[in-house]
Symmetry: D2
Subunit: 357 residues, 4 copies
Amino acid sequence: MATMKEISETNVQPFAQIPMQAVGPFKLIGDVETDDLMVPMATYETPLWPSVARGARVAARAGGIRVTLIDERMTRSILLQAKHAGIAAQRLAEIKSRQEDIQEVVSQSSRFAKLLEMNSQVVGNLIYLRFEFHTGDASGHNMATNAADKIIPWLLAEYPDLDYVSISANYCTDKKVSAVNGILGRGKYVVCETTIPAKLCQRYLKTTPQALVDLHIKKDLIGSIVSGGLRTANAHVANMLLGFYLATGQDAANIVEGSQAINHAEVTPEGDLYFSTTLPNLIVGSVGNGKGLDFVLENLRLLGCADDSLPAGGNARRLACIAGATAFCGELSLLAAQTNPGELMQAHIKLERQHKA
Amino acid sequence: MATMKEISETNVQPFAQIPMQAVGPFKLIGDVETDDLMVPMATYETPLWPSVARGARVAARAGGIRVTLIDERMTRSILLQAKHAGIAAQRLAEIKSRQEDIQEVVSQSSRFAKLLEMNSQVVGNLIYLRFEFHTGDASGHNMATNAADKIIPWLLAEYPDLDYVSISANYCTDKKVSAVNGILGRGKYVVCETTIPAKLCQRYLKTTPQALVDLHIKKDLIGSIVSGGLRTANAHVANMLLGFYLATGQDAANIVEGSQAINHAEVTPEGDLYFSTTLPNLIVGSVGNGKGLDFVLENLRLLGCADDSLPAGGNARRLACIAGATAFCGELSLLAAQTNPGELMQAHIKLERQHKA
Amino acid sequence: MATMKEISETNVQPFAQIPMQAVGPFKLIGDVETDDLMVPMATYETPLWPSVARGARVAARAGGIRVTLIDERMTRSILLQAKHAGIAAQRLAEIKSRQEDIQEVVSQSSRFAKLLEMNSQVVGNLIYLRFEFHTGDASGHNMATNAADKIIPWLLAEYPDLDYVSISANYCTDKKVSAVNGILGRGKYVVCETTIPAKLCQRYLKTTPQALVDLHIKKDLIGSIVSGGLRTANAHVANMLLGFYLATGQDAANIVEGSQAINHAEVTPEGDLYFSTTLPNLIVGSVGNGKGLDFVLENLRLLGCADDSLPAGGNARRLACIAGATAFCGELSLLAAQTNPGELMQAHIKLERQHKA
Amino acid sequence: MATMKEISETNVQPFAQIPMQAVGPFKLIGDVETDDLMVPMATYETPLWPSVARGARVAARAGGIRVTLIDERMTRSILLQAKHAGIAAQRLAEIKSRQEDIQEVVSQSSRFAKLLEMNSQVVGNLIYLRFEFHTGDASGHNMATNAADKIIPWLLAEYPDLDYVSISANYCTDKKVSAVNGILGRGKYVVCETTIPAKLCQRYLKTTPQALVDLHIKKDLIGSIVSGGLRTANAHVANMLLGFYLATGQDAANIVEGSQAINHAEVTPEGDLYFSTTLPNLIVGSVGNGKGLDFVLENLRLLGCADDSLPAGGNARRLACIAGATAFCGELSLLAAQTNPGELMQAHIKLERQHKA
């Protein structure tokens, strides 16, 4: 492989500088409680900032965004091969019955990684075996890979009639579109929701609950279905996640699975707007690659996600809830804008002009 | 909406600084011909650099990466509603027969935007109408939205029995998982391929053509299928696209559709490795948001994508081919590594250590 | 291969006898106009009959089911291979420019088959080339295959640098889940819709427009999305299509793509129920395999789909519209039942009891 | 609803008569062991019979088809609603901890239904709760629905802050395309596989292992991926399942999920053909609707699936293994045919002619 030295010889800037702003203020209730939180976002698409800020403002006025963390885990699937499916099925049953033994192997690789569950698929004589771990405050990619790296030789020694195919089998699945991540879980599973009185809708979002719900159904739901979407029902969650991930040192390629988020909205019996964004695959960490950079540390502190007094995993969970709330605000604001013909383009033009000025 | 002033008051750094390196050298043949091209990539996942460089090096030794640009277009779908499907069908037929009239409307919004085709879906009384444009050297999001913004009032005036629902209907579809983008096209469609002699495989990739093809089939193809993937068959294309997009001022949220790439590999009759990466949805531009930043301009120049002598769209096409080649190299290198138990993790650890040192 | 004689020696009954009833009466308006049409359905799931009949009855009272035929075509994709993608792209461009030449080749295989369009995908050096045909009153599987069988040797002769891989490449796609069939079209594309006054909802369906719409959104739309569905948003369209297909001599394995149908419902400003079922992939024919059986001929006559006075394709189009309406009625009725806790199971038990009595 | 009397008044034949033949002989090894088994198939597409028979014959000569049953379960998802996601998450955790209590409720609905697992999705304030049951020899649709019908009022009484939305929420999912059925399981999960010496390939299938594997990769795998398929990688599994299901009294609309099967093939180190078909969602029963008809009983006896001496569920498991083997033979035979230009169409024409004669 190339040495760092060789690579460094080419004279590009040592850093790409992505425009960054803190937007808000955010008021969160539920699994994270905070007032006046400012959230940094780094993006070339700067009209995103005021759009998210508008969502945050109306949600705060409506009592805040309720964030609920449903689940958390990081996964890695390995790929083994047997002589035939009969052996594959038998070995799988044995392996699944030995969770404690495997946890012991995992413990050699990290003191944080805890094996939660194993799921599998058999295709012909192939075994796709997916390990799910708790990984503390790390997003856990490397922890899971490292654990798999220890598990594989142990499995091959215990079951000599199984052969190695791959340490990663795309049934994990990392940074690729899938259904498995949503159904079995990968990353943090966060729900964000608010009920916004019709009056606030009008004042801040220039729309009505009925208009927004109607658009949401025809665009987010039916539009995504006709596009041949997969477990996706939102307007532009990827935008907000990208901005948040870059600002907080995350591996932003994970916006691929993060983008598979689902909005749900309805008009309440009182005529108000219930709006929610469900993000089943928020992959974030408060430690690990990228977190040692000064501006990242600063941003994590700003968000209250560099707090040593929290229990293991607490900073990452808080980070996930804030990431979800940021996506929620961008969704709410853009959908509102699209209920009004012409508003989207006018806002874009105006804001880009302001920003350049 | 919030003014820029309000937002700026929060004291975060004005830029997120993402580590950046130029990797290579790349040798390209086919629709772009170049030797010794260095490609900048910005990412927190720095082990990516030497991995991509390894792929570039072996491909160069094997004669270079053949890049073929199959197609290019940018899209926006609008959403209209009729009284019933009978009217929707009739109006759609009329609208589709008036491509010239609509091009005239489009021309008012931009001198670059050229309407290529219209595709549609009818669901009940709803009309999802997808416009496809050539957009020159811009990725074209705004150009397409702006064109739609002009088309809508014109359509509503011409066909008063149609109602506005949305300027964007998720049948476009932007930054979301879909099948429509791959089937009807969105962005540049690029194929990258090389045939690598078995000897070079062994020397540079520490693997054999048969081992790599075998892994590719079981991981990229079958593994993606069992994961419930959608038009996706690769290992980590999102990683390379993220790094390339950030370094060249692209809207990196478009890695969502970019990630839906398909590898194809086989052992040739001569026992060598044919390897290819097909990227049907590379959304890139050499002008537009983000391209005015100094380091971006510099990187575009380094890549030969700020060349005024090229015809309209030529810089963006070249950029897309290079983006594809970068993804290709990362795929080749990672798949090779995964054929060898233990190599992936060891490489990761070693490289992170080097980089930190 | 086995001869028919060998096979016949095993003593099973020469026919599977599937219970069959005519249900209705159906009132259709739009592209088919008819009162009091009875529709035969063959199925082991006999509670389906009264359920569909209930839907038909309420729709008739509400003015009938509006049926709109949006499109029709049958497809076959072939698979060729080039030395590299550059050649593949060039040959594809040439082939697509020669639609008239190819139509001439197609004409040798059938006087009904008309080539409508060609679509393609390039993956590495592979060419997936999808031909779309009008096939008159036949569903067209064999006509399309036969045409492809003539096109292939012609293409290989014209373009000696292309190699044969397969006469069917799964980009057609027949009897398999896909997005391509919905997006590019395969079979008849039919929309069925009715607006049902709230009073009739209550009297016939024991529910309210709001309750049904609410259930539809949470079950058909969101439920299908979380299940990892693909271009599917209905309750049980496959059931009705199976019954209709078996009764009319269709190749019922095509319910796989037929099942990918999309309901859309809303409460009108007047408080009534707009309900629609969109079926983009209804593969039916009034001639061909299975149509020569006596009971099938009788059923086609009952439906008015064995009418020699209609233009070519007219009988098949009428058949598709009726198939769609049958699915629509089953959807309406089941969704209504599921709005009421307990109704579904009680109806099932009662009806199975009645039928057995 | 319509009475049976009203419906019967229309004069269609009381039965659709679908052509039926027994094909084989099949040799099975593994979880079912049998020689010379003849398998009845009912279909309008009669060329299917000799094609399946050819596959059976070569597999028998190669030592038989190894069948492995990996899993079995039937599911029903219900849909509940909470005030907000925080309550939904809490109630879900409580409900999942009470599996024994729920089993007691289930026991009131059937003595066969055993609750295996609960899986869930939260979207905003909605709860999609999927129950998985063992259902003995029944396919279990009604048993699962009946169990859900008992569980719902119990849940609503225990947790008064949850509201009823639907007894079926499309997260089950029945007769619709999904990823959830493959990932979490629904029906029987069966793998069928054989290694066929190259000589037998040539003699019976007129092809080579390499040619068949090559076609399989480019058609079943890559072709399905570019078509936007979902967890599907086969040629025409739906055809064989339809024929088998109609002949054995199954609810044939379940071929929708059954069609989502995955072939895997490779050339062994000895140059032979390893071929497998994996069917994760075979929904079959040996008792229940449709099984009381005389010809169905006769066919079940022929298959050895009406054997009172087997343990509960044993007849259904045997039936699933045979269904899978039937699909396997049809896959093997068709893929072999498609490796040879022209063979597919010639065989079709010849066989239809024979059959009509």
